[in-house]
Structure formats: C-alpha cells, structure tokens
Symmetry: C2
Subunit: 346 residues, 2 copies
DNA sequence: CTGAAAGCGCTAACAA
DNA sequence: TTGTTAGCGCTTTCAG
C-alpha cells in the first residue's frame, strides 16, 4: 500500500512556488491582489503538479461546491436521460459536476434525495421529476427546499411543482391538446387515453389538454375511456391490453408519454392490429427513438435536452426576487402512427 | 435574505442533547463506546432538528464522502443510461450519491473528468465508457487512477481498459461472434459490418468476434465490408447509407451496437428495403427498445443494469491484492429483424 | 502585493 | 463511557 497522501495540496504548490498558501490560493482563484508574474508562476507549478483543489476543503472554507444535484424519476427513462444530458453538458462547460438521484416517482424518496443533496451542499438542486397534484405530498420537500434557498442554495424545477422555485415549464396542457386535436381532425371520435398516475401534474396537465381539445369539439373527457397505469413502457403495454379488451371499438389511442406509446404499439403489433389503418397511436415527448419506431410515432416534441440546459442555467443565475418561469415550446410531429379514422363497417 | 446559517450542525445537536460533540458524533455514526440510552437520545434530537451531517466537513476530517463517480460516454445513450440506472440503485441502497460525467468518447475529456472526480474525493470511480485499443491514449488516466487507488480510492471499470482496476467485462467478442454465427447459419455470406471508432476496445472486441465467426466458416473479415463511423444512431444511419451504396449485394448488416442498428433500420425503411426478407439486421446490447422496434431487433443481450450494479458492488468491496475481473453473460436474442438469406435471383 | 492566522464542521486520537 | 483537542485543506480577514 502506498502512503495515503496522494493528491498534492495547495501547501505543496505554495511551497514549490516559494509563496504562502494565501498567495497561492489567490493566484489559482484568479482573484486580484497578486502580481501577474507571481500568479502565472503559481499556476504553472500547479499545472505541472497536477494540482486540483480539494472540493471539500474549499466548500468548508466557504466556497462553492461546484456541484449541482439533479433529481429524476429514473435515469433509464429516455425522457430523463435526455434532460440529464442537457444538465450535464452545461455543468461541464461551467466546471460543475452533477449528482443524479432517483426519486422513483415517490414523494418520500424525493424528499430523502433532496435532503441528501442538501447535506452535500450542492450549489443548486434541479428537480426534474413531475410535480404532484396534491400539494400535501410535497409540503415537506417544499419546506426543506425553501430553507435551502434561504441559506443561499439555488433551486430550479422542471414541470409544474408546488415548490417556490424557478421553473422550466413544458406546456403539457398544450401538448395534450395538440395531439388530441390532431386525432380529432383525422376524424377519430372513439379515442382511448392511456395515462400515468393521476397524482402527477404532468399527467394531469396533459389530460387537461386532452379534455380541452375534446371540449372544442363538443366532446367530454367523460366520454372517452382513460386508464391510469405506470408512466412507463410496461404501463403502456398493460394499459393498452386492458383498454382494447374493454373497448373494442376504439380507433385511436393516446399515450400520455412516448415510452407508454412504445408499449402500446407492441400490444397492437402482437394483436395484429394495423397502425394506423385500424388504430392510430400518438404519444407525447418525442424521445429520440420515436422517429425510428415502425410505424414512426406521431407525438409532440418537448425539447428535453434544452429543458435540462435551461433549468441549470436558470439555477445558476443570481436569485431574483420573484421566481422565474420559463415555458418551453412544443411542436406536434405527425408521423406514421396516426391516420384517418377507419370508416365504420356498414 | 435569511441568515446564511441554515443547516443545524453537529454542535447544535450536541448542545441540545447535553453531550459533547464527540459523543454526538459517535452516536450518530453508530460507533460503539456510547451508552445506548445516550445514543438514542442524540439520534432523537438529531432527527427532530433535521440534522444531516455536512459531507464536506466529514470528508475533510477523514471520513468517506458517500459519493461515487460514474463516467459514461453520454448519458443520453440508452446503453449508458441503463448502466447508470444500475449504479444509482445500488448507490441509493447504500446511502451513496452518484456523480455522473460525460467523457464524450474522448480520452482527454475522460482524463479531465477523472481528475475532477478525484478532486471531489469520491469514494470510488466507475469508468463505464469503453476502453481504447491504444494504451497511450489512457496512459495518463491510468497513472492518475493508480495514484487515486494508492491513496485508498476505489476504481472499477466496465469493459476492457488498460487500467489496473477491478473490471466488469461484458464478453464483447463472444457477442460479436454469436450474432455473426447466427447470420451465417441463416445462410448469409455477403454481410456488411457497421462499426464504431476502431480505437474503442468494445468495437475492436466485437469485431474480433465477427472475424472469429467468419473464420469458423472459412471466411475472412477481409472479405466483408466494415465501416467505422460514430458509435451512435446517426453513425449507424450514415454507415448504412454508405455501405448500401457501395455494396448493393449485401444481404445482412451487423451493427456493432443497438443504437447504430436503429439508425440502420431507419435507412432500410426509407429505401423500402424489407427487413428481414431483403436484408437482415442485427445489433448488440439489447437496449430496452430493441424488442419494441418493428421489426423487433435481433441482438445479443448484455445485462447493462446488472453491469452497473456489479461494478459499484465490486468497487465498494475492500480492495484485493490482484484485480478482480468479472465477465458477464450474454445471450443471443433472435427476433424479427433477421431471417434466411434471400436466394439470389437466377 | 504578500503572509500569518483564524476558522469552516467533523472525525479520531488521547485523556479523564 | 464521555469529553478535549488536534487537525483535514482551503478561503479569507487582518497585518505587514
């Protein structure tokens, strides 16, 4: 075993450069009050020693941690993976590192992860998972995040949360509306909706959009079957099986996110139901693979990567008195999974 | 602005509990040398104060950081997202937090990320990105990681690296061999290979497997067109276009990973080439969507999530004298994208 | 412009 | 069993 003293410390750099650690610190931090010559020399030495400041010591001494936290429901879900990619990219540009946690779509777990990130004194925390329609579920998270912000921490959320923080808001209602209007225009009237858990604001908002589009045509959400299952590929799969069995007359299926739609398509394929000839299918998100499915998936594009970038960018700005709110664009992407409603057999 | 003193400190807990900080520390750490009564009391107080230890202070004082680093090429790639999911899960179980960095398939960036993680004094570092066939490219990373390990840090890599560390090794050669043998058995002889950058060991190993399977049939890799492009969906897309144009007689395409295969399928669809009737396509990895593509993708399953779990588990074990090496299983999954070679037109 | 020294919050000897 | 105290490596006054 080698000696535990592995990484060079500031003291090593200072000694080697023949200056005090205070001067060394100033030089490396690029603070002023050091002659450029000395500063350059110190930097030179630091470089050749491969010196990297100990983040913990720096943090303890009052500096920033250069770390941001990101809470997602599940990183294996492409929606979150794409958001994470955006967050990581801008973090890297700014010399920050990203801690990622799973909330597993559970408010208790989310609270726990928030606590953990706070304990790590991350400079900022980004909550990317959907909010909950029931404020009580996030009351404690809210309190904890508030305290964190009062202490100088920065917070940004993605989606609609009952959290007082800067927010990046995909327009989920408009997305739900767009996809539904598209199907209605194609002549579909017997539409089934496969939704995620009703407590998620993302689900509630998209569903509200569906309802609004229906209302525009004098229809009501009460008239269409809505099934709440997991917000995952398997949830979509199970939901489609159930809906198909209970409502054999449906001509279109809306999955409230693309991964669910993927599950829906697999069921249709297994049952030999032609898409879109016999059944149209649409999702929301436009995850990367949506375009490469067969049939390619009609969906509403949400700029996930950009949302991640935006969230971190906002969080890194100096806090403003009132919370910032940034709504992202969305775009209906019509592909091959939707088509005209089949004319009913005479 | 509230006062900066937000989080309660150990001293606060100790004072409130009427004990010294040493006793408080012991109680919370669950170390022995404290009467159970006192310990329980301290824990109680800590709980009601919402006390969470400052990770940085703890680390600086010689404790563990409760943080592990994970370096992936790109988290948006489902292969890495699934690995990350596994890592995060076992980390959460053990009360650890995960810092994820992008290496962007660039050795320089990878080195930089390793340095960053070391600066953060993560307890362990997991390098999930592929290794490089050219040892020189990772020489410096190797040195830095070695120093990290000498200093008590733990390291695990996924894949074949020229890094002295515990390793989880998907059997890439066997995977390449399996998929190729499958195609050969189906009667294909004019097979094109769409590969990622040749410098990646993952690519080199899978390609070696392809060569081995060909050799088993008396064929040579020299006889089949191999195209090296990006190890991504778009790389697969571009590669397929090129290969198709240059070798119109091919009857099967092997993409060296599933995301490339997705790009390949999209090209075939665009050209109206029926899969598998006119062209068979196979990938490697079995990412989640592979089963849901149409046609569903024949591939070789690698247990990505489990690989992530395994890597962290290994890294968390006390270091052993000789490096551990764990080879994971793989399994040919035949789906709809491969079929018998079309009989040549007479 | 530069250096000395006081912490930051916690752990781990060492005492009592 | 419990308390005292010396750091961990760095930033930041405050002197010089």
């Amino acid at each position: 075993m080698a000696k535990p003293r592995s990484a060079p410390r500031l003291a090593d750099v200072a000694a080697r450069a023949g200056v005090s650690i205070a001067t060394a610190s100033r030089s490396l931090a690029g603070r002023e009050g050091v002659s450029e010559a000395v500063a350059a020399h110190v930097r030179e030495i630091a470089l050749q020693l491969g010196y990297v400041a100990n983040v913990h010591a720096r943090t303890l001494a009052g500096g920033a941690t250069s770390t941001v936290g990101l809470i997602v429901h599940e990183i294996g879900d492409p929606y979150f993976a794409e958001i994470a990619s955006g967050v990581i990219e801008v973090a890297a540009q700014r010399g920050l590192t990203v801690q990622i946690c799973h909330s597993a779509r559970d408010p208790r777990t989310e609270l726990h992860q928030i606590r953990t990130l706070i304990a790590h004194r991350t400079d900022a925390i980004i909550v990317a998972g959907s909010g909950y329609t029931e404020p009580a579920l996030q009351a404690e998270s809210n309190a904890v995040l508030q305290a964190f912000q009062d202490g100088g921490g920065r917070v940004a959320v993605i989606g609609r949360h009952f959290l007082a923080a800067d927010a990046v808001r995909p327009d989920n209602e408009a997305a739900g509306r767009a996809v539904t209007a598209h199907l209605l225009e194609l002549g579909h009237r017997r539409i089934g909706v496969i939704a995620g858990p009703a407590v998620l604001t993302t689900v509630a908002d998209r569903l509200a959009g569906v309802a609004a589009a229906l209302a525009d045509r004098g229809l009501s959400l009460a008239d269409v079957p809505v099934l709440h299952t997991d917000f995952t590929r398997n949830g979509g799969h199970a939901g489609a099986e159930k809906l198909l069995a209970e409502h054999p007359d449906l001509t279109a299926l809306i999955a409230l996110n693309d991964v669910m739609a993927i599950g829906v398509l697999s069921v249709l394929r297994a049952h030999g139901i032609a898409v879109p000839q016999q059944m149209s299918v649409a999702g929301v998100d436009d995850v990367a693979v949506a375009a490469d499915l067969a049939p390619s998936l009609t969906t509403v594009r949400l700029p996930m990567t950009e949302m991640g970038e935006l969230a971190l960018t906002m969080a890194l700005k100096p806090p403003s008195a009132r919370k910032r709110r940034k709504t992202t664009g969305h775009e209906l992407v019509v592909r091959d999974s939707t088509g005209p409603a089949p004319t009913p057999a005479p």
